[in-house]
Symmetry: C2
Subunit: 192 residues, 2 copies
DNA sequence: ATAATAAATAGACTGTAGTCTAGTAATTAA
DNA sequence: TTAATTACTAGACTACAGTCTATTTATTAT
């Protein structure tokens, strides 16, 4: 049931996408987003520059996909583990996010910057990066509220904005994203 | 006491800076940061392109200065007016910031993006934009805490990060910055 | 076989930020 | 008056993102 009718013309090179994404990841980690040109990626992947543009609209789209193919492998520890309190789960979650950003934070910053200059990419980025994380935290905070760890009067959606906002604010202003920050954010959200 | 010894060579054209900044503001508001080239600004100001680079390092530096020369005129309503509660003052302050961003928000977004791609500019932007606002809000929240409007246990620095973070997060994700947001942020910060 | 289709390639092209240089103009110091 | 100094101008130059086009190549449909 997988060999549906193949489409008409010449098929896409099956290996190209993987080679391109691998080259992208390697070069971006090595030199930083800014210092990697599309031409360099194409060359490293042994592919014509236009082939990249056949498959991705912009450099940002390509890097986002390459980065997320890798990142999605990191199965975050479950946020609904009932054997832990929600405060613990949030702090652990933030700690994991920050640990990952220690490696890829510069790239994420570049992608956020790219999103400010390109509406289409902003939508893609929001869909793939922003929304999922926001939903995870909001759901966790709702559970916390249902369990009485957060007062019923609190505005959970706004608290979720506080959490992500504090994280973006630190990231974009070049402040360290470490365990201290994860603890301070979490503690303040759960403070009576 | 103002006519100190003039420096050695040919003096800078006294009118050029004003003409350049005026052209910058007008073009950026008209077409958006992205769609204004340095060449277009130089041409509109009747000045050689290199003259811009004699005075500013990058497009972002120029736009920041042009924008702030205008913005600094907006004397924000005082944040330490003792005849109002701190909650009221914070909401009014955020309302003013958001109202101004309704006009210049796209430019500010572009500047934040530029700061992600240029360390030197990030430092300048932090100094001129980020720090002053952060200090105003932190001072206000400290006063609120001293007056008992905020519980002594709260971490005021983190609350300030929450406020700015929520605002950046909304701005950079294309969500509306309006009176509702100002009210929701403020209410949640002051919630018991 | 042949036609139709779509991907890949090479390379020209546009627009922009930022750098560099050579020449000219305005000013101070001697 | 002349030398030194600095700003301004014009324009060449580099590097890059993204677009476009002509050509070749791999595939399906007839």
């Amino acid at each position: 049931m997988n060999d549906d009718k193949r489409p008409r013309g010449r098929p896409q090179d099956a290996d190209a996408a993987a080679a391109i994404k691998a080259a992208t990841l390697q070069l971006v980690k090595e030199r930083g987003y800014r210092n990697v040109s599309i031409a360099a990626i194409a060359s490293a992947a042994n592919v014509a520059r236009q082939t990249l543009y056949n498959r991705w609209n912009t450099k940002a789209d390509l890097v986002l996909e390459a980065l997320f193919e890798e990142t999605d492998l990191y199965a975050a520890a479950p946020l609904n583990d009932p054997s832990h309190g929600c405060q613990f789960l949030l702090e652990r979650f933030l700690g994991q996010v920050f640990a990952h950003l220690a490696e890829s934070g510069d790239t994420v910053r570049a992608l956020i910057a790219a999103a400010q200059e390109d509406r289409a990419f902003q939508a893609v980025f929001k869909q793939r990066f922003v929304k999922p994380r926001e939903e995870m935290v909001t759901a966790l905070l709702q559970r916390a509220q249902a369990r009485g760890e957060i007062a019923p009067s609190r505005d959970v959606a706004m608290l979720s904005s506080f959490v992500h906002g504090a994280f973006w604010y630190a990231l974009l202003n070049g402040e360290p994203l470490d365990a201290n920050l994860a603890r301070a954010i979490t503690a303040e959200v759960f403070r009576a």
